[in-house]
Symmetry: C2
Subunit: 148 residues, 2 copies
């Protein structure tokens, strides 16, 4: 939790250093994102802010998410299904990937050194300079496997 609060301040400072002013909608988005422990939809973010009485427009949510993504402060995560998700990104390139249960919708996170090494090796072999990589595993989670 303290880690995510730190992210909020970090994001806030980073934007300010970039010459951006403060604004109600943006602050609310950053605050809510900072309290998130997994990736979230723009619509979910919007609904949550509205539910707590905040009069944000969904355009401002998207605009803030764009700014954050441009500066590498959030990662866009695409789990399939046509809606982009967003999650806070720590500086230093630390990251994780996602496991999605197609039966119940549950989402888990993981990271794996051997996986990262394999990806770096492949990129190098193909002559690519790697900027980012997305890995999404789909399947049935432990609970859903038992039911079938």
């Amino acid at each position: 939790m303290s880690g995510t609060t730190a992210w909020g301040e970090y994001a806030h400072d980073s934007l300010r250093r970039g010459g951006a002013r403060s604004g109600g909608a943006r602050d609310a988005v950053i605050r809510h994102l900072a309290a998130q422990d997994c990736c979230i939809t723009a619509q979910e973010l919007f609904d949550a802010l509205r539910a707590e009485g905040n009069r944000v427009g969904i355009a401002s949510v998207y605009r803030t998410l764009d700014q954050l993504a441009e500066r590498g402060l959030v990662h866009r995560v695409d789990l399939g299904g046509g809606t982009t998700r967003f999650e806070p990104a720590l500086p230093g390139g630390e990251h994780h990937h996602h496991l999605v249960c197609d039966a119940c919708g549950r989402v888990d996170q993981f990271d794996d050194d051997a996986l990262e090494r394999a990806l770096s090796r492949v990129a190098a072999a193909e002559g690519y300079e790697l900027a980012k990589h997305d890995v999404v595993l789909h399947g049935a989670c432990e609970s859903c496997r038992r039911v079938e």
Copy 2:
């Protein structure tokens, strides 16, 4: 090429065995998909068929792609950017992943055993029964790196 033609017949037979009738739009989609060597957009498929004088509707293109995807005959590929791509899937689970150059839009394919092993291991460790996995690498391809 003969491999992709084989896919066309395989897909056609598979649908017929599934109780589906033959139809102009569906046959055209399968034929065009069979001649494809990389993933393609529904819109691109539609445009190509129209360009050769075929009066298909884009709805039929999507419906056919859905049917094929349901039976595992095509894979949906999401390279980011909001448009789903589709590519023929061979039986037996053989597959590849994609490298995208964010500068020029070039798309390369690759497969890697160590990568596959890492993914299987992760899924097992998390208790998931793996159904599919998507891996997309983004970066700058060899040509674009030189320009920068």
